[in-house]
Symmetry: C2
Subunit: 147 residues, 2 copies
């Protein structure tokens, strides 16, 4: 199975949640609450948020009254930014990003196919921002309410 690890999945939900709280007074939310809202273990979220911070997608405020918030406006954060921070470069196979990974690359036609597929994915994730995700989210949940 071609798989996106839970880091990428949970991390994206985490970021979307931060984006939704971006209108709060100081834009921030406490991880404990985010954990409840998204139903993801707070201990795991703590691990996931580290690379997001290192990649300057998220800012943290320590101590009582602290929390996390997006480092910039949701329209300025792309899905690739998030996935890159959490899972490394978007590639289906190591050999796509690392020319040294496999000696067969120069003769391997299959490699080229993985590369094209990876590139397609990359472009797609590049085209989606957190703002887009928020709009999708609003639309989807409005429909539910209307019923």
């Amino acid at each position: 199975m071609i798989r996106l690890s839970t880091k990428g999945r949970y991390g994206t939900r985490l970021m979307l949640n931060l984006a939704k709280h971006y209108r709060n007074k100081d834009h921030s939310i406490v991880l404990k609450n985010l954990s409840k809202e998204e139903d993801i273990s707070i201990r795991y979220l703590e691990q996931i948020i580290i690379p997001l911070k290192l990649n300057k997608l998220v800012k943290s405020i320590r101590g009582a009254g602290g929390g996390y918030k997006l480092a910039r406006h949701p329209s300025k954060i792309k899905l690739t930014d998030i996935l890159n921070a959490l899972e490394g470069p978007c590639c289906l196979v190591e050999c796509v990003e690392d020319d040294e990974y496999c000696q067969r690359i120069p003769v391997c036609a299959v490699h080229d196919v993985w590369k094209e597929a990876s590139s397609m994915l990359k472009n797609y994730f590049e085209s989606i921002t957190l703002e887009d995700l928020m709009k999708r989210d609003e639309k989807k949940n409005k429909k539910i309410k209307d019923k």
Copy 2:
């Protein structure tokens, strides 16, 4: 990292190799030789070829002078067939194929994005046959020889 497992990668190379030998008198090749050609452990290949056989992509001939061969012409085998046999349905996340997997699907905008991305990949792999791979292979290796 979004990753295709080694089963899918090695399995695809295995199938391309079988395709290349499809012109042999009886279309077949012994796994031991395939293992040498592709530089993949024969023990691992034995494991990988089982699902390919179960999915009727490959035929086996037992005993001395036996071996493996494609079950049908390379133009009739698509990359999705191979990946499906080895990795299950092509989806980036479980929730794309299994509606029961996560309760949040009806409210989760992120799910929709994974679904679209998975669909893109699926269509791409659907469009490529073993015959296409062979052509790519010939082209790529001809270029090398010319140099």
